[in-house]
Amino acid sequence: MEEKEKKEKIPRQPMPEQEPKVRVRNYKEVPFGYSPETAMLEASRCIQCKNPGCMTGCPVEIDIPGFIARIKEGDFAGGIAKIKERNLLPAVCGRVCPQEVQCEKVCILGKKGEPVAIGRLERFLADWERSEGAGSIPENEPSAETKAIKEPLTGKRVAVVGSGPSGLTVAGDLILKGHDVTVFEAFQIPGGVLIYGIPEFRLPKAIVAAEVDYMKKLGVKFECDMVVGATVSVDELFEQGYGAVYVGVGAGLPVFMNIPGENLIGVYSANEYLTRSNLMKAYLFPEYDTPIIRGKNVVVFGAGNVAMDSARTALRLGADQVRIIYRRSREEMPARIEEIHHGEEEGLEFHLLAAPLNFIGDSDGRLTGVRCQRMELGEPDESGRRRPVPIKGSEFETECDTAVISIGAGANPLLTKATPDIQLNRWGNIIAEPETGKTTKKGVWAGGDIVTGQATVILAMGAGRQVANSIHNYLIIGW
């Protein structure tokens, strides 16, 4: 075999996916994932750098060349074990991480050609493990795997508030370090934004359930229907014997635009639209009880990943036309390129450099249209992106029966209002030490979107990793 020549010739392997015309009318996952053969072929593209850049690009520092080498050899069990040393949610991360701005961005192959498809390979291993049942551990009996990776019990109890990506990471890391971990979730099902926010077609809920089940098998306890700050306070958690509390409650506050007509029926926050559809399964109404307006003519304001998720949900709910209206240009759109690409294939229309002025409704209070104005780009603002400036006289009206406002989400004040000794910044986000995640309240850590504002799953997981180390040190050594 002429290894060298072969390496140069193999192109980055595409992942087969559902045809746009088909998938736009179902909720099944868009890409099918690699076959073992394709995965091994893709893995063979990796040149196993001595100083791998990809690892520095990963917020949780997975041994990327390590797991890829094992795929190449066909040792999938070894590969997934390698990932799980650093990341207990590979099926999630392989799907929703923005690899193009992280590990794959710094892959050496990307300098001249296309980087190794690290995310697809990660996903492959996680899916392989689930389908092989290798991830399952017999009930009541720790497997060789968990015995080997779990450290002796410390008897220290940790409360994790919020079961989203950062909370699950903290819980997973600390259970492996031998602590007694309980996760509190406000909704009826654990998973946080992975359940209520990211749609089924992008992250099947069975996968989240499987990752949560794996946590349970490791010994993590989950308490749902618990709103910390309402059902129980942070101080009461300490009274109950928890030695440390991690707050990872996410970005659970919808941002509205404060324009006239926003309370018309048919105007949704992205949080509401997605929660109805994902958590409550309104797309299966009336089999499921929760309704959602199945608009024929939908507009979505904003151009981040959440906006793409909302718009693509609208298509699957049966819309004839779905328009993304964004006040800046294509270059500034914050969504992943892959998401934008998938959306375009499915028929989303992009109306750039336009912003809404007011919504228009009928006598029943139902949305019938929106008045917008055109924008042009001016000087860069604080975010470094060019500021959109309204063009005078460019106002226009357009019809719509559903609007989804997806211009970001803020910090939900429920827990922090009830815990006044946790200091906040002026946006209501918790102030936490960058290296450790320590808040101003002793024994309390915070991380993820409640600290940073709305960001990505993997950044929240990276924060969770740091926090877990800090909590461990505290429980063993002290504050």
Binding site: I265, S269, T275, R276, Y288, I293, G365
Partner: protein, 279 residues
């Protein structure tokens, strides 16, 4: 989990259930609510906590059958369990010594008013309770309310029991007959609270109402329950449910409450037809 310990149909279509929920029972305050889900496929709906037993660890909920969720809830019996129950949510009713407080409760709101009247009485207020039903057979808890009130007025729309009048008329009559009212607290259907607020506004009587908007999470996360109060958008779940009745934009609230009327009918028909096929 969330086992129904007792169930009673107070009057036709209005049911009482005691549900095991120790953590919620420990914390519940007058005016707060819980969000319940009947089963895995169910909708999350807010229901006011009508009472609680902190020692025995249960809460009392009184609800009216109006849609799919409440009909299904009404079919559960003692021994059955709810799929999910979370709370207590919302800001508790503001209780202090105001002077004379008129507590008005209509329909299922009579039950929700009970702990408020009791707390107002304990705070040293003169409590006048006014309850309303369409007809005599829809009234309940008269005796219970009498015990925590200095005075109780009963109003029915059809004149079958007491005076043929509605709550707002009764409030006006109290004032007309020389009574001084410092605060009106209203709990019940939106229309009654709207009319009560419209009656007290020109009289200059501060009136607080408890709004029941459609909710999903109940923790301020989705904004579904938003209402317009004093020209500002507020979330009934975390900023309320208690608001100044004179500042509420009732038209927006009434319209948003009808937001899923078609779907509600469809859901109910679907569910009922599934019931028929079972028998």
């Amino acid at each position: 989990m969330y086992k129904i310990l007792a169930k009673e149909e107070l009057v036709p279509n209005i049911h009482l259930i005691n549900v095991e929920a120790p953590a919620v029972a420990k914390k519940a305050q007058p005016g707060q609510f819980v969000i319940i889900t009947v089963d895995e496929k169910g909708e999350r709906i807010p229901l006011t906590v009508a009472d609680w037993d902190r020692e025995k660890g249960f809460i009392t909920i009184v609800f009216m059958e109006v849609g799919t969720t409440t009909q299904r809830l009404a079919l559960l019996n003692a021994g059955d369990s709810l799929y999910s129950l979370v709370g207590p949510l919302g800001i508790p009713t503001h209780i202090e010594k105001f002077g004379t407080v008129v507590c008005v409760g209509g329909c299922y709101g009579i039950a929700a008013m009970m702990p408020i009247a009791r707390a107002m009485k304990e705070a040293g207020n003169k409590v006048i309770s006014v309850i309303e039903g369409r007809s005599k057979y829809l009234l309940f808890w008269e005796e219970e309310l009498k015990r925590v009130s200095d005075q109780l007025f009963v109003t029915v729309g059809d004149g079958s029991h007491a005076a043929e009048r509605w709550i707002p008329d009764q409030v006006k009559q109290i004032v007309d007959s020389g009574g001084k009212i410092d605060l009106v607290v209203a709990f019940g259907c939106t229309f009654m609270m709207k009319l009560t607020s419209e009656t007290t506004k020109p009289l200059g009587i501060k009136t607080v109402v408890h709004l029941s908007s459609i909710m999903v999470d109940g923790t301020g996360m989705c904004g579904c329950c938003r209402v317009s109060v004093g020209g500002e958008t507020r979330f009934a779940c975390v900023d309320g449910p208690e608001f100044d009745g004179h500042e509420v934009d009732w038209d927006v609230l009434l319209s948003r409450q009808r937001g899923y009327q078609d779907e509600e009918i469809q859901s109910l028909q679907e569910w009922e037809s599934r019931q028929w096929s079972r028998t």
